[in-house]
Amino acid sequence: MARKQSRFGVSRRSFVGGAGALSVGLAGFPAILGAQAKAVKVGLIHPVTGFVAYNGQQSRLGATMAIEDVNKAGGVKSMGGAKLEALLGDSQSKVEVGVSEVEKMNEAGASAFIGCFQSPVGIAATQAAAKYNTPFLIDVGASDQLVRRGLKNVFRLKPGFGKCVDDGIAALGAINKGAGSPAKSAVIVHESGEFGTGTAKLLAGKLPSIGIEAKELIPHDNPTRSFDNIALRIRSMAPDIVMMSNYGNEYMLLARTLFQQKVELKGMFSVLGGGFNYKFVKDMPDVSQFMMDTNHWFNPRSEASQALKKRVEAGGALFTFEVYLSYTNVMLLADALERAQSADKEKLIAALAASTFKAELMPYGPTKFVDGQNEGGLPAVMQSLKGEIEVISPEQFASAKAVFPRPKFT
């Protein structure tokens, strides 16, 4: 029997079949739409212009790389694969601009913030975020005031300057003792802001405990274009050690000036020396040779950190501390989102507060936040040796032994 065809050449059976398939498709479409989880917006506030622009750009690089990695790995799985979306902000090193960025990003729907490199900007920006109960992760920012104000929304994974000074002084004491205690005096040169002054005061207070007298604290402004006079003053005081706590440009300039003026020292030691990085060590191997720094550093024995280092360097950038600290903070946030199963701010803060995140890149123990400060954070002591940066303390992460005292110029 011949099948009855319609005028348009479509049989009744195929019409019913097609209509059925279409209705199933239409019914399924909203389900597919529903499965596309809403992106979680993360506000990144860094000083990408201004006198610490390089540091801010490095932080942004690390954070955006981490967001890419989280998204490539399928996003936040407990939230249906929700992707992270970066909201990029520039604080311009100004307090009021940092706050303005918080307000703007809050309206753009930021679920969390990461920033701000400079402590004064961080102090004001975290307070602004606290109004909205939005979590704020301090990726870089040394001041301990950032986490001592009772703000429930602020979390800092890395150690503050108090911990860095304690560990740095302990390491310096051990190195000095191991060499027969040749160092008896020190001069501390620091930038005059909150970070440098706070660190210098703590250093001066702790140095006597390892048998070293702090002869003088010399503050300097940001930016400082010449350290000639300070170098002459240091030479006249003839300390055994020069300790530095300042931002990148001034750090390198002071080191170069002391080298050029051949100021004899037993060692140069910094805590959170802003300029102690691969750029400095590669560009000025003679100047940096034997300098020591206590700072945030990646775990050189971690495969993940070595792989990230290669990726960053392949892109033409340097693997500075801002990169891996910001990267790690995005991972900390992703971990908290995973456990909170929601971008709800209250739940996210609770998940961060209870975090036991293992920072794979860093030489840290499991995360444990007390009043917003991670107690598991650990700084490393490094030394520049033959154009490389070697970890000399803590011992379990060390890649070389310290050279102290340094050889004389003559």
């Binding site: 990408v48 212009t49 622009a53 750009q57 942004r60 990029l88 520039d90 311009q92 100004k94 307090v95 009021e96 601009v97 706050v99 303005s100 307000e103 703007k104 809050n106 309206e107 004064p120 102090i123 004001a124 307070q127 606290a130 109004k131 005031q145 104000r149 703000l151 930038e191 005059s192 802001g193 909150e194 440098g196 002054t197 706070g198 005061k201 503050p219 940001n222």
Partner: protein, 326 residues
């Protein structure tokens, strides 16, 4: 002021009063604390610019270090509040008086020494630097560590949870600044300042006590600027020597007045509006330029170019342009 101008002013004030009701509080359109924050920054910078304008624009006493008064006000109220337990509202008048006093002292020292023009501008810069170094060194200011004001967001504590109230505070200050500027255009004091600005020797020959008038205007300007310092400290709750006495604030005060039109009533307000809006727009521009990963420096170049064009082609500022068009 003509009837038409008064109507324009009243309309402008009405818009300014209604603005937060549109963007904040019980919002009619959409709540935007960001929009309120930007408006606060415009009004606040306009008020600080007006304080500079009173001395620099009306009296011709160009200062490069006006931040000295801002920092004085900020530190006096903050120290009284944090270290001595004063209520910040009570500390505010003391801070204003301190700014006036510092203005009078700097005026007496500078004008007694006969400093004028660029020499006076440079000495004010030097005073600001001295204050910054002192603030960096003495324990009362906690040096470079800065002073953190405890967050306690209650109006009786001069802290507001809703940014709308800081906006209104800035609006009141701005209106007071405009009223003072308007008064200067009408009063004998203002006329004496104009005479000093145009030709100091001629003003002296006319019998004006130039020294006294210049000290008075600097004290008035200093008191205004100090009032702004306290508001800043209470809004951002943190103060250090670079924030309080940093040269950027002096430059901003000078810039808003020059761009808007120095020696005019509305110059600082117009200049501040343009400066901040251009700043906000170019800052966003940095994130949207296609093909460039980090375009933020480009945004600063655009910002700088706009300023150069304004300064190069509008020597009397934007108010001068409006006057010419009329």
């Amino acid at each position: 002021m003509s009837r038409r101008a008064m109507l324009w002013c009243a309309a402008g004030l009405l818009v300014a009063i209604l603005y937060p009701l549109l963007f904040g509080g019980p919002s009619l359109i959409a709540r935007s604390n960001y929009a309120i924050n930007v408006a606060f920054l415009i009004l606040f910078a306009a008020f600080l610019g007006q304080s500079w304008n009173i001395a620099g624009g009306y009296a011709g006493q160009t200062s490069f270090g006006h931040v000295v008064f801002f920092g004085t006000g900020a530190y006096v109220s903050t120290i009284l509040h944090v270290s001595h337990g004063w209520n910040p509202w009570l500390a505010w008048p003391v801070a204003i008086a301190s700014g006036g006093l510092v203005g009078a002292i700097i005026g007496v020292l500078s004008f007694r020494a006969g400093l004028r023009g660029s020499y006076f501008a440079l000495i004010t810069l030097a005073f600001a630097e001295v204050f910054r170094i002192v603030a960096n060194s003495i324990p009362q200011t906690r040096g470079g560590l800065g002073i953190l004001i405890k967050a306690d967001q209650r109006p009786e504590n001069f802290q507001f949870r809703d940014p709308m109230w800081f906006y209104y505070l800035a609006l009141v200050l701005c209106v007071i600044g405009l009223a003072i500027a308007w008064w200067l255009t009408r009063s004998r004091f203002g006329a004496r300042l104009a005479a000093i600005r145009e030709n100091e020797d001629a003003a002296m020959a006319l019998g004006i006590d130039v020294f006294r008038e210049k000290v008075r205007v600097l004290a008035l300007s200093g008191a205004m600027c100090a009032a702004g310092g306290t508001v800043y400290a209470q809004k951002y709750l943190y103060l250090d020597p670079s924030i309080a006495f940093g040269v950027e604030k002096s430059v901003e005060m000078l810039l808003v007045s020059m761009i808007g039109g120095a020696g005019t009533i509305f110059g600082p307000l117009i200049g501040s509006g343009v400066l901040h809006l251009v700043g906000e727009i170019t800052r966003d521009l940095g994130n949207v330029v296609p093909g460039i990963k980090n375009a933020q420096p480009l945004a600063l170049i655009v910002y700088g170019l706009i300023l150069v064009v304004i300064v190069a082609y509008l020597p009397d500022g934007l108010t001068g342009l409006l006057r010419r068009r009329r």
